[in-house]
């Protein structure tokens, strides 16, 4: 999808091409000028030769025009029908061949990798030893993976939460339909709302009855996974996804009016802002204490209790809130273009 520049005729490529094309006729013109200069001493002969030359010129010119038109027409027709099919088939064959070649080379590499499940693989080095042997006493978390991503490597998780936030902003820009400044809805918003109401369940007793029972259980389960991120598998991300699934279920069953009572744009904005800034500010103490050295005053508690692990539980809660708000706002924007 490239545009042609507006000054393309003065660009070097176009000028070189024009010179190239005109060069041949320039040579012809030169020869004709020489011949006509030679015959200028005999005016009668030169006139006759001039008439002949003109007839030849026009015939040659018309013939060349006709040939060009025929060539272009045929070429265009071929390109449009058979050429496109041929190019399509060549593309498919080349793509398949390249994919097979790539798989073959990668399989060749896999054959030389260390054996699956080998305890002496080079992947397990001194870093693993440090994380496992001193993980519990340094981070206070019983779940070594959670302690690793929220204490030893906490900035990775901050970057990932930032990526989620950026994605939510991008989807907001693309799909949100705004109101006018004085609050009256735009035509597009009315169309989107009516379009969405066509699919909303109106007092669907089965769905609403089951959702009234299910949603508290789902939300409770999500909160349990977030809070126990340092003791059992789970953590902020999966807990946030489960909470957002519960909220989406509620939205599906009861509609936007009832869900708008507790979730508005302000909720989303403030929750995301506070969670992310709390995460960044809370983990900033390691700038002063260093990753390895000076003891910070954060209590680690006894491993295995729920109030242990220092900062891991608050950070889990922050990440979980960001994830749940982001997923919910994705769904609402896709459905209606707003909340």
């Amino acid at each position: 999808m490239s545009k042609r520049r507006s000054d393309w005729q003065t660009r070097p490529q176009a000028r070189i091409r024009k010179w190239f094309q005109q060069g041949f006729t320039a040579l012809d013109d030169e020869i004709i000028n020489q011949i006509s200069q030679q015959t200028i001493q005999q005016p009668e002969v030169s006139q006759m030769m001039e008439a002949q030359r003109e007839a030849m010129d026009t015939r040659r010119y018309e013939r060349s025009l006709a040939l060009e038109r025929l060539e272009r027409h045929e070429l265009q027709a071929w390109v449009r029908t058979r050429g496109r099919k041929a190019i399509g088939r060549v593309y498919v064959a080349l793509a398949l061949a390249m994919a097979v070649l790539m798989i073959f080379f990668l399989l060749e590499t896999v054959a030389h990798m260390p054996r699956f499940g080998d305890p002496n693989a080079p992947v397990t080095n001194e870093v693993t030893e440090r994380y496992i042997t001193r993980g519990v006493e340094e981070t206070g978390a019983v779940n070594i993976v959670a302690g690793m991503i929220l204490d030893y490597r906490a900035f990775d998780t901050l970057g990932e939460s930032t990526v989620l936030f950026i994605a939510a902003s991008a989807v907001l820009i693309l799909l949100r339909i705004d109101r006018r400044k004085d609050g009256t809805p735009v035509q597009e918003l009315i169309a989107a709302e009516s379009d969405d109401r066509h699919y909303e369940p109106r007092a669907d007793r089965i769905l609403q009855g089951s959702v009234m029972v299910l949603t508290p259980i789902i939300l409770l389960f999500g909160i349990y996974i977030i809070l126990n991120g340092h003791l059992s598998p789970g953590g902020g991300f999966s807990g946030g996804a489960i909470i957002s699934a519960g909220l989406i279920l509620y939205l599906d069953a009861f509609g936007f009016d009832k869900a708008g009572r507790f979730f508005t744009y302000k909720t989303f904005a403030w929750v995301s802002f506070f969670s992310l800034s709390f995460y960044a500010l809370a983990k900033a103490y390691s700038f002063y204490m260093g990753a390895n050295g000076l003891p910070s005053g954060i209590p680690l508690g006894t491993p295995g209790a729920i109030l242990s692990g220092g900062l891991i539980m608050p950070l889990n809660i922050a990440v979980g809130m960001v994830v749940s708000c982001t997923m919910y706002i994705f769904y609402a924007l896709f459905r209606k273009g707003g909340l």
Binding site: A99, T124, V127, N143, V163, A170, S232, P233, F237
Partner: protein, 124 residues
């Protein structure tokens, strides 16, 4: 070589899935199938990464009964990397799907060749 490939079966399957996902991305003309192909590529790479951390005979990296020796748990580092990757993958899919909805509203088709042709026709 087949014997070696059978010993590293997970990594072999991960590479084959990567190739299948890549082929879906190249050859399908529907936009939504392309996005599914991209997701298949992503999860294949995560399978490859996480299979590096497995050590046979050892348990999941959650400390039980105060046992903190290296020989009792698998390697937890690749699991942490893949966890970040899964969330990045889902946010990327969200953005791509929003773009698909906008493209459909504009050109009324999901075929990538037709969209490219229409867009080129508008420019010139």
């Amino acid at each position: 070589m087949l014997q070696l490939l059978y010993e590293n079966l997970e990594q072999t399957v991960a590479v084959i899935l990567f190739g299948i996902g890549f082929t879906i991305l190249l050859l399908q003309r529907n936009l939504i199938r392309k996005i599914i192909g991209l997701n298949i590529m992503d999860t294949a790479i995560y399978l490859f990464l996480a299979s590096m951390g497995y050590i046979s005979g050892r348990k999941a990296p959650i400390v039980v009964d105060g046992v903190t020796e290296v020989s009792a748990y698998i390697n937890p580092i690749p699991a942490g990397l893949v966890l970040t990757g899964i969330v990045v993958s889902v946010s990327f899919t969200g953005i791509l799907l929003a773009l698909t909805v906008r493209l459909y509203r504009r050109y009324n088709t999901l075929d990538i060749d037709v969209i490219a042709l229409l867009a080129k026709g508008e420019d010139a």
